[in-house]
């Protein structure tokens, strides 16, 4: 359970002349559900996009021991799946077909879906509770339903590492918790999950590890109890917070704005 899934060393990302991620190093092991937290503009999305190979980078990113630059796009797609923040669905494709798009890297160009493909797609739909509307066009779904379908698509990619940009946004509390459970289970199966999040309460209760970004750098990294303290909340977010323990887990609720130290 301690295989290294992701190794980032000296990562730099420049976007439009601005340095968004600076000399960042991070190591994620199999079995970890990492919550990527930090204020707006901290570089969370850019870090995820850099790991997914979607932006030019400096430094090295290795997935399961293989350097990212050395991998073809199709090989990379077998190692990591990525759920973008935007819920983009261009055509009225049935949900089932859309989730099956996650099998793309596993199939040769004109091959039909194999029995295994169908099984993985069915499992992914069941996990995200979207099997009920398998035949409906995905464009006709509500925002939260679309979000779940798109996560199911990434699960169908069946990769050791899963990256999700704000996956919980737009979900009701029940589905937020269900999603957190899915990610915890995936981690328990020996995969790695990295999800950027704004909901500190959710990340405190469900992530096995939190990485707090600010200004493109990691400012805290560790268990939720280590990362989420009154001091970091104050210094990084400029808010005060309520901290407690309920049902054996950390409870964090931001309360009010305070002057940043």
């Amino acid at each position: 359970m301690s295989t290294s899934l992701l190794d980032i060393a000296g990562l730099n990302v420049d976007l439009g002349g601005a340095s968004v991620v600076r000399d960042l190093s991070l190591n994620v092991k199999a079995g970890e559900f990492v919550g990527l937290i930090g204020p707006n503009g901290a570089g969370k999305s850019t870090l995820l996009r850099a790991i997914a190979g979607l932006v030019p980078i400096g430094g090295t990113v290795s997935v399961a021991g293989d350097r990212l630059e050395g991998l073809k796009a199709a090989e990379r797609a077998l190692r990591l799946a990525y759920v973008p923040q935007e819920h983009e669905i261009a055509w009225p494709v049935p949900v089932e077909t859309l989730v099956a798009l996650g099998r793309t890297p596993h199939r040769s160009n004109f091959a039909l879906l194999s029995t295994r493909d169908r099984q993985v797609v069915a499992d992914a739909m069941a996990r995200m509770d979207v099997a009920r509307f398998a035949k409906r066009p995905a464009t006709a779904l509500s925002g939260g339903e679309k979000a779940r379908v798109l996560i199911a698509r990434a699960l169908a990619q069946d990769t050791p590492l899963i990256l999700a940009d704000e996956p919980a946004a737009g979900l009701d509390p029940a589905y937020q918790i269900a999603l957190m459970r899915v990610f915890r289970d995936l981690a328990g199966e020996g995969r790695g999950v990295i999800a950027s999040m704004h909901d500190l309460g959710l990340s405190a209760r469900w992530c096995t590890r939190l990485v707090l970004l600010n200004g493109g750098k990691i400012v805290a990294d560790g268990s939720p109890e280590e990362v989420l303290t009154p001091e970091t909340l104050h210094a990084i977010y400029g808010v005060s917070g309520f901290f407690g323990v309920a049902d054996g887990g950390l409870v964090v609720q931001p309360l009010d704005l305070v002057e940043r130290r």
């Binding site: 997914a52 979607l54 073809k72 796009a73 759920v83 973008p84 261009a90 798009l101 160009n109 798109l150």
Partner: protein, 332 residues
């Protein structure tokens, strides 16, 4: 995956319609040759007038109709998938207007009169120059840059075409340019077929290989890239494949609008939305539409030489209005 049966029925149905229209296109014409006689003349070796009409006039016309229509339908479906925009069509990225400009310049300079293949070759050259310019302008930017570069190239080509009309040496040249631009399959020879076929087939191969990549693009560029799609290669293939096939089709048939826009639209709901399923359907649908339109122009106004491009626009534009009307609610 699902509704597979319905999908194959659709493809089979479209294929049958295309074949029937192809045969009708061979069998129907002003010469009034009996059906059986006309078809047997296709394979006859003697040099009688019926054999000549069939092999030298109707056969190239039907083949070009089939290829032009399939090209427009296929490339329209590919471009809509690539740009994730239901308004995309081959004209949008400047290919048709640049091919037209090449042809117009050939007429204007007298090249087409001096050398029979001058016009189609000039049109092809126009299309290929357009694709180079669009590629260079768009660089590795996103979808929007491709559209903007296409619009720029397209406007420039139209302006130059207008200039050629404006400065045309005599009214006959202007008339010839105008008529050519309306698009037609009349009076084409097997030479045109041989000239266009290699380019069209090469373009088809490039476009047809993109199905899976376009499917992934349904979820946006980032998601597609994370699923292993090489975005730059996909875009290069789509644009070059369109330039080759549409350029060659325009070179022999003139600019025929609306087919590339309307056919993918019409068939998308019937194919379940995925681009890879739309491509073959749209190619067959485009072929059917052009073959049908080309049969119609022979009968709607016989002797008046009604142009194919005029007919497709007359049918296409109201359809487009209906489309806007229907999708109004979604756009609000």
């Amino acid at each position: 995956m699902m509704a597979s049966r319905g999908y194959w029925l659709l493809i089979g149905g479209l294929a049958v319609v295309t074949v029937v229209l192809f045969v009708l296109s061979l069998a129907l014409g002003p010469a009034g040759i009996a059906f059986g006689e006309s078809l047997s003349a296709l394979f006859s070796g003697d040099g009688g007038p019926i054999v000549l009409i069939m092999q030298e006039i109707r056969l190239p016309r039907a083949i070009l109709g089939l290829m032009t229509g399939a090209t427009l339908g296929l490339s329209g479906a590919v471009l809509q998938g690539l740009l994730r925009n239901p308004l995309a069509e081959p004209g949008l990225i400047g290919i048709s207007s640049s091919a037209s400009l090449g042809a117009v310049l050939a007429i204007y300079t007298g090249l087409s009169a001096a050398f029979p293949l001058g016009l189609p070759l000039a049109a092809l050259a126009g299309a290929l120059i357009a694709v180079l310019v669009v590629q260079v302008l768009a660089g590795s930017g996103g979808v929007l840059t491709v559209i903007l570069a296409g619009v720029a190239v397209s406007s420039f080509a139209s302006a130059m075409t207008s200039l050629a009309l404006n400065l045309s040496p005599n009214p006959f040249a202007a008339l010839e340019i105008m008529f050519w631009m309306l698009g037609s399959l009349a009076d084409r020879s097997m030479t045109h077929v041989w000239l266009a076929t290699p380019f069209i087939l090469a373009g088809w191969l490039m476009l047809a290989s993109l199905g899976r990549a376009l499917d992934a693009l349904t979820l946006g560029a980032d998601a597609a890239a994370s699923m292993g799609v090489d975005l730059n290669r996909t875009r290069r293939f789509a644009i070059l494949g369109t330039a080759l096939s549409v350029g060659a089709a325009t070179a022999v048939a003139g600019a025929i609008g609306f087919v590339g826009l309307v056919i993918p639209h019409l068939l998308r709901p019937l194919t379940g939305g995925l681009p890879s399923r739309l491509l073959p359907a749209s190619a067959l649908g485009g072929a059917s539409m052009i073959l049908a339109a080309d049969i119609l122009v022979r009968f709607v106004a016989p002797g008046r030489d009604l142009k194919l491009g005029v007919l497709t626009a007359i049918v296409g534009a109201p359809f487009f209005l209906w489309l806007v009307w229907k999708s109004r609610r979604d756009l609000l």
